[in-house]
């Protein structure tokens, strides 16, 4: 039933993706074949926000086209979230598992992060039930659970935020070494500390090592704390939005139904029911995982609200301004994942308790109604989030430009200066400049962002230099720039003086590509060897965990076969 339920959710949300093309929205950029470029694996001039995500997409391009990878990833996120939550909840009735499955795969958090294109964070979201299940099995001393913790955390760690969430979850949920949840005489857990936290920490090595070796500013614009703070979505304000797993900073990424007048009341109902179910969770997970999960959920809720509460937002601004890497905390709402899974588990158990009190088949009716409640309260997640996730084809001239750059690779400047674009062929949806992933060469684009009237500064020195040249009326291309790409269909303008003495190679309705005759190839930026060490370390941890998991499964099968062959 769980698998059918997961399949129904996947079809309901992703049905529009049956059409050909790519869904391009905010941070979700897929291209026909993303090159496995060194500057994507280890960006030297910007912070590693998509490490190791870009490396994985680049690797996948070796075996599958981008359109297929995108569909597989999105479908897997929804299916794994639903199945994971359904299997995790310690319910006695099968329909209560369906309540958990639909509840976790149909949250405002998932809808909002899908609409802002952060699929890497959603991989962490989908991995969270599996990680909690494996961590609990470690606490119970079940063999092979440690390897499952590492593998689930590896899935979560495709982005730096996901890696951090997985690390904190592992540290909080896994019991210290030497103690058994069954008492002194019980089975000893699988060496959970320090092996597991260290292994999960090592999964973060790719982005940590790249960030340490990057020439980019490691601190962020403190103005981003206010810009990316959680926001209210209706009369309930920010607290009600976060309590219902919504509250993303960007109003354009919020499903319309979240502004409905009944949303805070539905959230209040969910919380009451979840409170009713927490007792059951604590009783059924008597080894203490429920309490720890509740602390973790509470902590994630507090972190989510930090930037939006007057007292703490000032402190967060100071931290983001002074502490390298603290910029990860500026968009706090994305840390709601542990809260979301805890809420859903408790909600499902609360629903089960209510159903137990209703005689006859009425209990089933209650469970069916509560399983449908998330869908009814958020109907615009269906059909590609209300038609906002629409596949489109790149104009043919993108391939022409890519072929020209592929034939003579060298750094590209993408103009007009903007990190994000709104193309008419993409129905005006906002998307991160695809040039950085489409072209087989490093692309310099603006890395500043504007939220409302606030312009948030970027960290790339190369982009700042290009901006300075444009402001001074100088040519944008110096001897370190091979190509200049002007995207004419995205609005904005390029001062004619900025194009200087460049040679036009391609002119189409949307794109103009110029070659810089004065280009002189320079030595590559960044310490490539040390960046590789981070990837190798994380890769080794995954291989060892996979081997342990595989070996364990094989040994169980052998034992079963041996037992079956005995007379």
């Amino acid at each position: 039933m769980l698998y059918a339920c997961a399949a129904a959710v996947v079809v309901a949300v992703l049905a529009p993706l049956a059409r050909a093309g790519y869904v391009l929205r905010y941070d979700m950029v897929f291209v026909p074949r993303q090159p496995l470029r060194w500057d994507l694996l280890a960006p030297a001039g910007t912070l590693p926000r998509a490490v190791p995500q870009d490396a994985l997409v680049g690797l996948s391009a070796v075996v599958a086209p981008g359109w297929l990878v995108q569909r597989v990833v999105l479908a897997a996120v929804l299916a794994a979230a639903a199945i994971g939550a359904g299997r995790l909840v310690p319910a006695r009735r099968a329909p209560a598992r369906v309540v958990a499955a639909i509840g976790y795969a149909w949250t405002p958090f998932l809808a909002e992060r899908l609409l802002i294109g952060q699929w890497g964070l959603l991989v962490c979201y989908a991995a969270m039930p599996w990680l909690i299940r494996a961590a609990r099995d470690v606490r119970l001393g079940r063999p092979g659970a440690g390897a499952r913790v590492v593998l689930a955390a590896a899935c979560a760690a495709v982005t730096p935020t996901g890696g951090l969430i997985a690390l904190v979850t592992t540290v909080v949920l896994v019991r210290p070494a030497g103690s058994s949840p069954h008492g002194p005489a019980g089975p000893r857990p699988w060496r959970p500390v320090p092996v597991l936290p260290v292994a999960v920490a090592a999964l973060n090595a790719p982005w940590v090592v790249v960030a340490a070796g990057s020439g980019a500013l490691a601190t962020s614009d403190p103005g981003a704390v206010g810009a990316f703070a959680a926001r209210g979505e209706n009369w309930g304000g920010m607290p009600a939005a976060l309590a219902g797993t919504g509250g993303i900073w960007n109003a354009a990424a919020v499903p319309g139904s979240r502004s409905g007048p009944l949303v805070p009341l539905v959230t209040a109902g969910l919380l009451v029911l979840a409170g009713f179910g927490f007792g059951a969770l604590r009783r059924r997970w008597a080894e203490g995982t429920a309490t720890r999960l509740a602390w973790l959920a509470g902590g994630s809720l507090l972190v989510s609200a930090l930037g939006a509460v007057p007292g703490t937002s000032g402190a967060l601004r100071a931290v983001v301004d002074q502490v390298p890497g603290a910029g990860l905390l500026r968009d706090g709402q994305k840390f709601l994942i542990p809260y979301a899974i805890c809420l859903v588990l408790c909600f499902a158990l609360g629903a089960e308790r209510i159903a137990d009190r209703v005689p006859g088949t009425g209990g089933r009716v209650v469970l069916a109604g509560l399983a449908l409640l998330p869908v009814v309260a958020l109907p615009d997640l269906a059909w590609g989030a209300g038609g906002k996730l629409r596949p489109v084809e790149y104009p043919a001239e993108w391939e022409t430009v890519a072929a020209a750059v592929r034939a003579d690779p060298g750094p590209v400047v993408s103009l007009p200066m903007s990190a994000y674009r709104a193309y008419p062929w993409n129905s005006g949806a906002i998307v991160y400049d695809p040039a950085g992933r489409y072209l087989a060469a490093p692309v310099v684009a603006d890395d500043r962002l504007r939220v409302g009237d606030t312009v948030l500064s970027g960290e790339s020195a190369a982009a700042a230099e290009i901006r300075a040249r444009l402001a001074d009326g100088r040519p944008v291309a110096d001897e370190h720039v091979r190509w200049v790409l002007v995207q004419r269909d995205t609005g904005g303008s390029v001062p004619p003086a900025g194009l200087g003495a460049l040679t036009e190679v391609h002119r189409g309705p949307a794109l103009v590509l110029y070659r810089n005759p004065g280009y002189a190839a320079a030595a590559p930026d960044g310490d490539r060897l040390s960046a590789l060490v981070g990837y190798l370390l994380a890769g080794m941890v995954v291989v060892v965990a996979g081997w342990r998991r595989f070996a364990r499964t094989k040994s169980i099968r052998r034992r079963q076969e041996w037992a079956g062959s005995r007379p």
């Binding site: 810009a227 926001r231 979505e233 900073w249 960007n250 109003a251 354009a252 990424a253 919020v254 499903p255 319309g256 139904s257 979240r258 502004s259 409905g260 007048p261 009944l262 949303v263 539905v266 209703v358 005689p359 006859g360 088949t361 009425g362 009716v365 209650v366 069916a368 109604g369 509560l370 449908l372 409640l373 009814v376 309260a377 958020l378 109907p379 615009d380 209300g386 200066m417 903007s418 990190a419 994000y420 709104a422 906002i430 603006d446 500043r448 962002l449 504007r450 939220v451 409302g452 009237d453 606030t454 312009v455 901006r467 444009l470 402001a471 609005g491 904005g492 303008s493």
Partner: protein
């Protein structure tokens, strides 16, 4: 008795879902307050009443996000 209870419970659950669903569908179909605020801000900028940041052509465009 059991059937009657199921009927009552079913009607209550159905009514609850209908109320929540209709309200959510209406909110999803109508322009939200944030959307209206964004449109008003865009119109103000187009009329030259925007902030200082909106006047510099080298600044990023204002479509990335609105709170």
């Amino acid at each position: 008795m059991g059937r009657f209870t199921t009927l009552i419970v079913g009607a209550a659950v159905g009514a609850l879902l209908a109320v929540v669903g209709v309200a959510a569908a209406m909110a999803a179909l109508n322009p939200s307050a944030s959307k209206v605020a964004t449109q008003m801000a865009d119109e103000a900028k187009a009329n030259g009443q925007g902030g200082r940041a909106a006047e510099d052509p080298l600044d990023p465009p204002n479509f990335y996000g609105a709170r």
